[in-house]
Symmetry: C2
Subunit: 441 residues, 2 copies
Amino acid sequence: MTDLIALSAAEAAVQIARGHLSAEDYTRACLDRIAALEPKVHAFTHLDSDYALEQARALDEHQVRGHVTGPLHGVPVAIKDVFDTFDFPTECGSPLMKGRRLARDAAAVARLRAAGAVILGKTVTTEFAYFHPGATRNPHDPSRTPGGSSSGSAAAVAAQMVPLAIGTQTNGSVIRPAAFCGVIGVKPSHGLNSRHGCLLLSRTLDHVGVFARSLADAALILGILAGFDANDPDSRPGAPPDFEDAVEAEPKPRRLAFVRTQVWDKADLEARRAVEDLARRVGAETVDLDDSFAKAWVDHRVVMAADMARQFGEIVSSGRESDSSEQLRELLAEGAATPALRYLAAQDNRMRYRAGLGRILADYDAILTPATPGVAPKGEATGNPAFNSLWSLTGLPSLTLPLLKGEDGMPLGVQLVCAPGDDARLMRVARWLSAEVGAGL
Amino acid sequence: MTDLIALSAAEAAVQIARGHLSAEDYTRACLDRIAALEPKVHAFTHLDSDYALEQARALDEHQVRGHVTGPLHGVPVAIKDVFDTFDFPTECGSPLMKGRRLARDAAAVARLRAAGAVILGKTVTTEFAYFHPGATRNPHDPSRTPGGSSSGSAAAVAAQMVPLAIGTQTNGSVIRPAAFCGVIGVKPSHGLNSRHGCLLLSRTLDHVGVFARSLADAALILGILAGFDANDPDSRPGAPPDFEDAVEAEPKPRRLAFVRTQVWDKADLEARRAVEDLARRVGAETVDLDDSFAKAWVDHRVVMAADMARQFGEIVSSGRESDSSEQLRELLAEGAATPALRYLAAQDNRMRYRAGLGRILADYDAILTPATPGVAPKGEATGNPAFNSLWSLTGLPSLTLPLLKGEDGMPLGVQLVCAPGDDARLMRVARWLSAEVGAGL
């Protein structure tokens, strides 16, 4: 069983396709692992072992009958509980959405199902994918946060409960938990993965991202999720990047810009040293963001507060006070008090930051920057997204690689960021960086 | 000379291409017409006869040398003074932009130039393409408004000063002046024509439209303007409609929905009767917009006020009070006082109106509706855009045809509206409707 859960999704898919492994056995191995660790990790909010096995057996039968199978045939995937699913409730981490059931899958879930995935269950999210934590704990140390908001998805992949999971990021909700849990997290370019049927916080800031333990696995699931969807107003037509090709190619040397950003002093000394050290080892050149970027973090907050006030203001104010967190109510009040002019200025500034970063990335393959201010903090709070806000605001593709270690041997992520639409290059640079430091991701 | 100015752009382009007419002679005929009527009409704000003839001669030489020519080779086009041009000032109808010169053409102007057009001059716009009128008068009756904001473009085409002109619409600025001046005006689907290099009032509401005297001419210029431009964030990739094919096809019977809208009582009795009569003649079925559309006009105002406050608030408040109109300052103050939540609600409502209209248009080829509340009013004010706001807000393609007459024989437009992206069908329906009533447009 240990062998099965250690398989990558790509390896498992090949074994299943060749008939060397059944979807049922593979799914059972994941379920056994969950049974063993879930009492400590609390990654799932909706899980039904019988139903998961039923899906797996149906896929096995499908294959036995000689039907065409998809690239994830028989591979379990965990879904953050903000994506609509026809078969599980979708409660978005809020008592206000308790028992909410929907008739249809979100576009991302539908694509995974069409690719043959076993939709294993729904994972814990913070309240409305904002800050108020759910029950999930960090698999490396239960006294620490897994990060948020995609807490359960990151923890489940880190704990080898499942090889792949999906999540969302509006501020730092994919990169931060992935870094804290020591897995790969990818937040692709804004508009690459459809958000149709996914809890809407902010059209401007929301992204669908993935969690995996290898770059090949991340490429596999991204290749399934990416692509045009007329139901997402920010989706752009055009062929999606060839992710598998990107990670299979022989890595060639890459030019990195080491960007500390205006929030560098939020990182702890250990994290700063570790990332500086890595930057030096791989020949990254230090590039400072000038003062024109100074207000990006405030602009991110302005857009997020107003957009979330629009989405959640009524439901939260019409609910009982005990059914929402003070932190969320404060944000919504802030959003409700925002003038349209301030909001529109933030939107315009966003395009300027995007253009400014584009000018830097004209000279480098990618930006190297911390994923988080340090390792996962102890306690409940899900940690600081300061090193994620700029890339969420500008929609640049970013990923975190578990290349470093910090205090108590806890994982420390390293973030790479590319130009908008340059998602394939992002994977290529990640492959090279991983090889360069001997990590073999 | 009378013969030349009466030519359609399509006919002139053919004659020039065949060597039967020179660009210089054709341009001179337009300039002579302008010289005769401009003292009464005031359509142009920047015109340089020598420079126009210079462009025409260069195009003639180009052709004589056997170079490839574009579909508008040698045909003069007038440009609303809100499009950037490298060779003329771009003053946007405001003293605050007096003498403003830019290094590059707007995308629309660049496309026209590449197609071989003579960029004849810049036409009068109201102040910042909002309401405060410029000097232009209605060619049919100088005591009446030409409508706005694309006042000069509509009047120049109506007065046969030029066969084609371009303008912009944020509320009713293409359809209204076209209807008042008795020409064809087309406002295509939002995002079809690039707005790059064009005065920005509102990303949501701004459209680039055209003025022509025949459907073939409208199709000719739309075919040049339409198409993807990565510099316009709302431009969508994909092949543009085949406009020429649409107007050349044999007209077949069309199902029309006669939609009076919530502003029906703003139309005068004469206009209501004339449009009802036409609807009956062509077998249009009356379809009422339910109460869910009632606030669309207010939502349009909310978006326009906030977006324009963002674009013009600083420049207007930092200028002298005498350099802006009270009407504009009131709008900007209203926009500055708008909460982000109200703005975002209006944006969401907009998508609902769009979906609701899409449901109606699932059963009909097009909506038939008034273009204006009546004929061009006497005096300075540019008239009421009530019959245009809904289609500007929702981005549906619309056009007006000069099919009716009102008081004093003044032209009265009839508006057709299709589903988003259905611009080719819009032209087909227009061709059919024109044939049905024996107008031969």
